[in-house]
């Protein structure tokens, strides 16, 4: 089948080419309008504000300054940024290791089971992530469910302080972002042609080799999308890290939020936001290069 399609001569010529009329443009206008209004304009505002000053009450004063950026490149903010990137990296790796087998299993299940399993992955989205994070607090606290269980089973004699530790932060992040890793990988696995795997086995490949030479390359777009969907929002996350970490080791998201809500310094918050944006654009570029490199 595939061979026939590839060898068939496709009729090409000016007579068959259609010029795009105004129709398609009209159709994408709402989308372009949306992008302009909610992505481009706010981003430009962020950039403008990051070069501004502010008065005693925190109002933005429109006079040009580089000060916010010179201040942003101080070791302490960079250290906070580094910790945030590290948390996001760990979260991404753990999500990938946990999420890939799940996504693979779901993708290779029968159609009926597949729908059910995907629904199970999606169900947590029905509740706000803040409420689910508060639920974790009541599970992990010293007088919480987990410690009660461990002590009843005599595994520990004294309660363990799970909460307000880096462990709790990573757990909260992994828990919240795991579905964003599973879903795109699942989409790739679902499209995977089973006959290719069969062919690999027929040609004498062992399971490890089938996985590394056939399955992995074919699901790579899903992996790349999953990594991006987890890594990027995890860097800037502030609610989960603050609730689970106890605020003693603030992440860059918490620091930016503080500039707007407590420190009366929106321009500095905007400058940190622009730096974060630069990191996001860099990861996007890296990921698209990774994908294109694979296709070539």
């Amino acid at each position: 089948m595939a061979v026939t399609a590839a060898t068939a001569v496709l009729p090409t010529g000016p007579s068959l080419q259609r010029r795009a009329g105004l129709g398609p443009w009209f159709a994408v206008t709402p989308m372009l309008g949306w992008l302009a209004l909610f992505v481009i304009v706010p981003t430009l505002m962020l950039v403008v504000v990051s070069f501004c000053e502010r008065d005693a009450l925190g109002r933005i004063v429109y006079s040009f300054t580089f000060e916010n950026y010179t201040r942003a490149f101080d070791w302490k903010w960079l250290k906070i940024l580094g910790v945030s990137v590290w948390y996001a990296f760990l979260t991404t790796v753990i999500c990938l290791v946990l999420g890939y087998p799940v996504a693979y299993f779901i993708g290779r299940s029968s159609e009926r089971v597949r729908g059910l399993l995907i629904m199970l992955v999606m169900i947590p989205f029905w509740t706000s992530f803040l409420i689910r994070t508060y639920a974790w607090i009541s599970i992990l606290s010293q007088e919480g469910l987990l410690n009660a269980l461990l002590m009843t089973l005599k595994i520990t004699s004294a309660p363990i302080g799970f909460m307000y530790t880096p462990f709790a932060v990573i757990l909260g992040l992994v828990y919240n972002f795991l579905p964003f890793m599973i879903l795109p990988i699942y989409t790739s696995v679902e499209k995977l042609d089973g006959s290719l795997i069969e062919a690999a086995y027929d040609l004498g490949a062992r399971p490890a080799r089938v996985f590394s030479r056939v399955v992995l390359p074919l699901t790579q777009p899903g992996i790349a999308a999953g990594i991006l969907l987890v890594f990027v929002p995890a860097i800037a996350m502030f609610a989960i890290t603050n609730l689970m970490g106890g605020g003693a080791n603030p992440t860059i998201g918490e620091v930016i939020q503080n500039q707007f809500t407590r420190a009366r310094n929106q321009p500095f918050g905007a400058a940190l936001g622009v730096l974060l944006l630069a990191i996001f654009i860099f990861s996007l570029w890296l990921s698209s290069k990774f994908r294109r490199g694979h296709e070539a």
């Binding site: 309660p159 106890g246 605020g247 809500t261 407590r262 310094n265």
Partner: protein, 345 residues
């Protein structure tokens, strides 16, 4: 084609209605208040008695309120600024003068809460609730006695401490301990207390301004510096949570109702202010949020249990000895940076 036209027509109508709606004077009272501070029952009762609908939006710091108000996002009719923010807003001409004849219930306020230094004669603001920042500890685990801020930050308590995640508050405890007036946040004074704060904050487990009582009642911390309302709730839950007013000096906050210049519903806002000054209504607020009620007539209605809660009404405490915040302007950013720097060291 006809179907298309009908849809277009419907959309046009909706747009026209929307525009018409903008022109009309808004009948709803827009209240911009602290989260966890205005009982829903009070709002429902106000609507029931006056027919005025109330839309509530919340914030969790004075700075957040200021930022949203000054950005002109929502046309708020009533805000709830703390004393130093009232002072700054009066100075910047951002508040409307109150018509005291429309607020006869002002007479219910205790004399010490009328005519306060940040707003002489209550020209622009009316106190909602007041409170203190003090020490709460679990007497079953911490032997005590605890009398001061520095008693909190001992090596025995390291890793078992919760404090407010509020840079200005933290700096205040350091200044009070060093014997410096709490509003004197000059660069030199901040430098003086930096070593002390470095030592203290290294021992803190949790920074939480929204609900510091959670870490205490969950058993994750044994001692902390928190809002008096939180301390009162902990004491009411279990008397093992003891309350202490630190000897170095106590900071008192007074949260107020005020009407921003941008409001076009001044009459309704004043009606709401007068409503919450009614003793029975003010009592409803105290029932849910046990801070220090500035309303004398309402305090007469409280139960002995409520009045004997040491965090709500500290026994033998002289109110005039409590210190109020004044506005520190641009230093707020320096204070925030100092605390963040110490946290990440």
């Amino acid at each position: 084609m006809t179907k298309h036209k009908t849809k277009l027509f419907a959309a046009a109508c909706a747009g026209a209605l929307l525009l018409a709606g903008c022109g009309k004077k808004d009948e709803t009272l827009k209240l911009f208040s602290w989260s966890e501070y205005v009982p829903q029952a009070v709002i429902d009762k106000f609507t029931e008695e006056t027919g005025i609908k109330v839309a509530v939006e919340n914030y969790s710091s004075n700075e957040e309120m200021l930022a949203k108000l000054l950005a002109g996002g929502g046309a708020y009719d009533l805000i709830q600024p703390s004393e130093y923010t009232v002072q700054a807003m009066i100075k910047e001409d951002l508040l409307q003068e109150l018509d005291q004849e429309k607020i006869p219930n002002l007479k219910n306020l205790a004399p010490e809460f009328r005519n306060m230094p940040f707003d002489p004669d209550n020209k622009f603001s009316v106190p909602w609730m007041a409170g203190f920042v003090g020490v709460v500890y679990n007497a079953e685990v911490v032997p005590g006695p605890i009398v001061s801020y520095k008693d909190v930050f001992t090596d025995e308590h390291a890793g078992r401490i919760v404090v407010l995640d509020d840079a200005r508050e933290i700096v205040t405890w350091g200044l009070a301990t060093a014997g410096i007036p709490i509003n004197d946040v000059s660069d030199e004074n901040l430098a003086t207390i930096t070593p002390l704060l470095k030592d203290w904050l290294g021992k803190v487990k949790v920074f939480d301004s929204d609900s510091p009582k959670t870490a205490m009642s969950n058993g994750d911390t044994d001692i902390g510096i928190v809002w008096s309302g939180e301390g009162a709730l902990l004491f009411a839950e279990n008397p093992k949570f003891q309350w202490v007013m630190p000897v170095e000096g106590v900071h008192m906050f007074v949260d107020n109702l005020a009407i921003p210049k941008t409001s076009r519903n001044k009459d309704k806002a004043e009606a709401f202010i007068n409503f919450i000054l009614r003793p029975d209504i003010s009592k409803m607020i105290s029932d849910e949020f046990p801070y220090y009620n500035p309303n004398l007539e309402a305090r007469a209605l409280l139960s002995p249990e409520q009045l004997n809660n040491p965090a709500s009404y500290p026994p033998g405490f002289d109110l005039t000895s409590a210190q109020l915040f004044t506005d520190i302007g641009e230093q707020a950013s320096k204070v925030d940076e100092l605390i963040t720097t110490i946290k990440v060291q």
